[in-house]
Symmetry: C2
Subunit: 432 residues, 2 copies
């Protein structure tokens, strides 16, 4: 299905008016950034770039879309002709997917004609806002999980296609697996899951359910033990599967207490290798609270796919520079109080000392030159409309996951604290 | 693109184990409900049903999906054969789309074999959880807007496909239009929007931008007046478009104050018919705060597409009854503390007195008979796998919008209050 109409109407009416005024071809630079981090967060993680590159490359208005736009009188005939030929031919730079970001980090820079760049606003923001909200929340969870694996299982609490994007974003942020099969197929993410309470309730007894599951999925499976009585179910699970039972899953109750009890019970039953996975409405705070408990892995649903309280990253897509008629770049910026933008093209770097990030330094204007040693944050993602393959598909997803790990490792230790605080490093502007 | 893999892995592994155990064909009843309303909310609005009916009717495993499942060793050969033939053949009842709901309202009842019904869990919850989160938030906004129109413009703050679903859900809840073009095409929702700040910044002066816009879109257009100085822009807008200018849009600042000032200015310029629309990070609380201000219409983005603090409705999909081997229906329920379910098939009605709802009464068990006069809440949505056309497509969407208005009008006046409170009516169980 085409993505061309995943677009706000005003983008097309602006193009319509600009074509009529002869200004649509002015070369422009648009920038994606967040004015601030979500309340009290110390860093964000950029995600969605790899998905976005494909969506931009495929962004086309087909006959069906053009017919609908014509019949709905959204734009006039010259604009319909222009849209029929549309394919993005500009350049895009941006932070690498998985990169840590801060207020005003220029995460994506889109350079092209006004019309070809402005039409990408909604799609670009939709993808980056959602995926980054998920990755930012997921990264906080990974940060407090002390290396224990976390699986994403929140598809049911996200709109149906968002679930796939969420699985990918959480994987980039360090989750190890997802329950979502389409995310497995589309992005190569390991999938997991064995059974729900319904499976136990389907059978006449819990024992019949456990026998059926072990028969089909083997002794290494994970048995869900909280449909009726946890203690009785753990006894039964080991009786049915033996001490080589893979894991038991607990999906309710007072987890720190429950997990301790089940661990002792499993050890007492001679099943010290049987793992414990917990999945009950977890978020970064409950994961942190389980640090001392003998949990082996976590499954996280609602909180990760909804950004743990911040379901959109708050990115905006703003015109920051355009060429005037003489070909000179002019910085432009909205001046409204509280929503002012910094005009001009930006060259962002991460300054470091002893391998630890000390500031996000943004050099503004043409011809900026960062100090040597700082880590440049922009890579070229698209050249004349052609995406760089390194950042796409399953390869790009794995690269992003590795990059997120490296980028977070470079942050000051405070960055991983869950308590509300200031951004982990300051954002500093340097005028060229 | 197929929806078959928008499914959690455990649904397929449960089917695999049930096929092997010979239990997959047991006739089952699954129920969708919310254990509670979001914190302090007084009612919810069900949305997504119309979308879901089509998605269920089209739910198929094609060769590509089967190949991937085989190669990934998700299920065994007998299950692959079963999936290849899959099409839902059961019955579905549910609350009408647009209906008000309360804790434990049995919003959707899916009856079919265990395997054919359990495989729909993730897709069903994804659609209903997201769409209902949006509709529930949107309905609160409409409730405090005092009849002033509200447009949905939050696509950029929702994942790309979610934006379309959000536009539809908000429309059902009483919004009048959307910025999202695909929602216009797919669901017949009126679309709106004229220009962003980028359009003003593209041009050498604000006057050139306004001239270009009025030239292309006519004097009835809406001019955005807060790129530089609002007062100067309002003067300019009326100078350029004349007193028949359609509207000015304000997207920043201290709105109650700003709106009063702009209204006086427009009246003073002889443009009393020029409307004022505001769009700056609105939610139900800021809309309520603008009640006394001369606002003509609102545009709402982030808050509505993210459910205004509650981005998922919290619905679950639970097995509540199944036939035993003798053909008798058996109520089943999970017993875990805090997550216990009420087993059995439910017949929900809304009791009323003087036309005002007094309770959500849920008759439990086979053969329940509600008192006459109560409004039955279940309609049949799907029969032997075939959806009822009345609830689908643009017709179904408009019907849902009308139903939401009627359902909310029937609630006690307290229901529309924004302050935190208990559900507007109690949920009462009656055993048959």
């Amino acid at each position: 299905m085409t993505t061309a109409l995943l677009t706000d109407r005003y983008e097309l009416t602006m193009i319509d008016a600009a074509i009529r005024a002869g200004t649509h071809d002015r070369e422009c630079v648009f920038e994606v950034f967040a004015r601030r981090l979500p309340d009290g967060r110390r860093y964000g993680i950029l995600a969605g770039t790899g998905r976005l590159l494909d969506l931009i490359a495929d962004f086309r208005f087909g006959d069906a879309e053009l017919d609908w736009l014509r019949d709905s009188h959204v734009v006039t005939a010259p604009t319909l002709d222009w849209l029929a030929d549309y394919r993005f031919s500009g350049d895009i730079w941006g932070y690498r997917e998985g990169e840590a970001y801060f207020p005003n980090s220029p995460l994506l820079v889109v350079q092209g004609s006004f019309a070809e760049a402005v039409v990408l606003e909604t799609l670009t923001l939709s993808v980056l806002n959602y995926d980054s909200a998920v990755a930012s929340a997921a990264s906080r969870m990974v940060g407090v999980a002390n290396g224990r694996p976390i699986a994403e299982m929140g598809s049911r609490r996200a709109s149906e296609r968002s679930g796939v994007a969420a699985a990918r974003a959480a994987f980039i942020a360090g989750f190890g697996a997802t329950s979502n099969l389409e995310a497995g197929r589309s992005w190569g993410i390991p999938t997991m899951g064995t059974a729900a309470h319904a499976f136990t309730l389907l059978h006449d007894t819990e024992e019949q359910a456990f026998l059926a599951q072990v028969d089909a999925l083997g002794r290494s499976t994970t048995l869900l033990v909280d449909t009726y009585d946890v203690k009785a179910a753990v006894d039964l699970a080991v009786k049915v599967a033996g001490p080589s039972l893979g894991a038991v899953r607990i999906d309710s109750g007072d987890l720190p207490e429950q997990v301790q009890t089940v661990r002792r019970q499993l050890d007492g039953l001679g099943a010290p290798a049987t793992k414990i996975t917990v999945t009950s409405d977890l978020d970064e705070y409950t994961i942190a609270a389980l640090r001392a408990a003998p949990v082996d892995s976590y499954g996280v649903g609602t909180s990760v796919v909804t950004g743990s309280g911040h379901p959109a990253a708050g990115f905006v897509y703003k015109l920051v520079a355009r060429r005037d008629d003489s070909g000179t770049w002019v910085s432009v910026a909205k001046k409204s109080a509280a929503k002012a933008t910094v005009g001009g093209r930006k060259l962002p770097v991460r300054e470091r000392a002893g391998g630890i990030a000390t500031s996000e330094t943004i050099h503004v204007g043409e011809g900026a030159e960062p100090a040597p040693g700082a880590r440049p944050l922009h890579v070229r993602l698209m050249t004349a409309g052609v995406p760089d393959d390194r950042y796409r598909g399953t390869t790009g997803t794995i690269l992003a996951r590795e990059h997120r790990a490296a980028a977070v490792a470079e942050l000051p230790a405070d960055a991983l604290r869950l308590s509300r605080g200031e951004p982990a490093i300051p954002t500093i502007y340097v005028e060229a």
